[in-house]
């Protein structure tokens, strides 16, 4: 066990080192290229990277930095702030592994530019709880084995926390029978609302059990 604890930071260090050298290799074009928009166009033209300032709060802490305008919120969290709990799955908004909560709403952080989140309040899996003091949803996922490989889990948990909030606020879903009454807290509702989070290991039924437990066992059609 001690070995693996030693190995992990090393592997992480290597990856970060690799990412930095890749960035360094790209830098010469900054000095040489013209500013975008001023370029004459054509396939051979590589527009120069553009830096922009962004200030936002992540898990209660304020950060202000200069980032390449192309930086996604996901890459800002992982590569700049080293909050690697949020995962990059498809990087196209299809898998949900990158789900975080921004200003109280869950979004795919891969399909969002960091510079567009000026003044935002971001909550990642690290902000929900810690290994010593887990969020009830984290504890329930552990208890019900709501994962196998664990890669989609941070996104699943952020999404699940938001689902219960959305149902509580009366937000309708595709399976809500009557749009004009508060949606039921049911397994069908939870399944539909979690459809943006894919689990390739197929831990779905255990994930539903975990969410059901946190919902307080009042879920229609649920086990608890």
């Amino acid at each position: 066990m001690d070995d693996s604890i030693d190995i992990n930071p090393t592997r992480r260090g290597l990856l970060i080192g690799g990412a930095l050298s890749a960035t360094a290799a790209a830098i010469p074009s900054v000095a040489m290229a013209q500013t975008p928009g001023a370029t004459s166009g054509g396939a051979a033209t590589t527009p120069a990277p553009v830096q922009n300032k962004v200030a936002l709060r992540v898990n209660g802490q304020r950060y202000e930095m200069d980032v390449d305008t192309r930086t996604s919120l996901l890459d800002l969290l992982r590569e700049h702030l080293h909050l690697t709990g949020t995962k990059k799955g498809c990087d196209q908004g299809q898998c949900g592994a990158c789900t975080v909560i921004v200003d109280g709403r869950r979004i795919n952080s891969c399909l969002s530019l960091a510079v567009m989140h000026e003044g935002a309040e971001v909550t990642t899996i690290e902000g929900l709880g810690t290994p010593q003091k887990m969020h009830p949803m984290q504890a329930a996922f552990v208890k019900h084995d709501g994962y196998q490989c664990g890669y989609c889990t941070p996104g699943q948990i952020c999404s699940a926390v938001a689902v219960l909030d959305e149902i509580g606020r009366g937000t309708p879903s595709h399976v809500t029978a009557d749009l004009n009454v508060k949606p039921l807290l049911s397994v069908d509702e939870i399944r539909e609302r979690m459809s943006g989070n894919i689990c390739r290991c197929g831990a779905y039924s255990n994930i539903i059990d975990a969410i059901t437990e946190v919902a307080g066992g009042k879920v229609l059609g649920g086990k608890a």
Partner: protein
């Protein structure tokens, strides 16, 4: 992704003017389709004008009893609005049938209308696509066409418009309110907003360069029973194979619009004259000129059966009432 300059605009007119100054500039709102395409370098705007701070995120009543939906209202907020749920249920239903909750939390009213009409070959940058590279050819024609258009297509493009929301907007006769770079405002009826592919499939709507959508106007409520039935390969988070939006009145008259069959939401007044004559009569009108392939011929009977199911439901509801 190609590098780009990023700019926040203070007013809609300023945003339109900023975008008009740089060729290829794009507005960004939710970014859920644009950023996806920028990662693949299918879209390579040199400038992004962020319109999120323009205050266009309100839903307000109009003087003639309708609703003015701000361009920046998030899809989840629009679907949840009590007035929309009560008076324009077909719009709520269509929105809730689209994408995932995470995407609906970001995607906006205007952005949803402006998502690209697309097919898998558009995303495959190794294959020709007239929409991606005008004049390069269409890989879908003669390719795998199960999800493709059966009406209104051309020799240049057979892609379908993927929006559910736009089908409901078409049904409701929405108006698209815009501001142009010179500051002039206009409202484009949704029926005149989208274009069929013809020889220019890369031009999908009738907006002028730099023209910014500021709101979508819903006329006063239609009453009747509202339906949005989406048929897809999985129960959630998939594009429509076909979808049917309908408002049915107690006397059996009504409106019908289709998704998943054409380059734009598909609706015909002549077909709606046939509402009392049943689903086959309506479908014959709507899809009379259909040009199908072996792989997508199923869409014609699927539309008819889906519409028949809606009509049966509305009849049952009328009997109960």
């Amino acid at each position: 992704m190609k590098a780009f300059t990023y700019q926040r605009a203070a007013t809609p007119a300023e945003a339109a003017a900023a975008a008009a100054r740089v060729q290829g500039a794009r507005f960004i709102a939710g970014g859920t389709n644009l950023l996806d395409l920028m990662k693949l370098e299918i879209e390579t705007p040199p400038l992004l004008v962020d319109v999120n701070g323009l205050g266009l995120d309100k839903i307000e009543p109009t003087p003639d009893g309708g609703l003015r939906l701000g361009a920046l209202v998030r899809n989840s907020d629009l679907a949840s609005d009590a007035r929309v749920r009560r008076d324009y249920a077909v719009l709520s239903r269509a929105l809730l049938a689209g994408a995932s909750a995470q995407l609906r939390n970001k995607a906006t009213t205007a952005g949803n209308l402006l998502q690209r009409t697309r097919c898998p070959y558009f995303y495959d940058t190794y294959q020709p696509c007239n929409k991606r590279v005008p004049g390069s050819g269409c890989s879908a024609i003669g390719g795998y066409t199960r999800g493709h258009a059966i009406v209104g297509q051309s020799e240049a493009c057979i892609a379908t418009h993927p929006s559910d929301m736009a089908v409901a907007m078409q049904l409701l006769d929405a108006g698209v309110e815009t501001v142009r770079p010179d500051g002039l405002k206009r409202t484009i009826p949704i029926a005149d907003f989208y274009r069929l592919p013809g020889n220019t499939p890369h031009i999908e709507n009738n907006l002028a360069p730099g023209e910014l959508i500021t709101a979508v106007i819903l006329p006063k409520p239609l009453g009747g029973k509202h339906y949005y039935h989406k048929v897809r390969d999985r129960a959630s988070y998939a594009f429509a194979l076909i979808s049917v939006a309908a408002v049915v009145q107690p006397d059996g008259s009504g409106r019908v619009a289709l998704g998943g069959v054409a380059h734009k939401p598909w609706r015909m007044p002549a077909a709606e004259q046939q509402m009392k004559n049943g689903a086959k009569a309506v479908t014959d009108q709507l899809l009379g000129g259909a040009r199908t392939t072996e792989e997508n011929a199923f869409k014609v009977p699927l539309v008819q059966r889906t519409l028949a199911a809606i009509m049966a439901q509305s009849k049952a509801a009328a009997t109960q009432a």
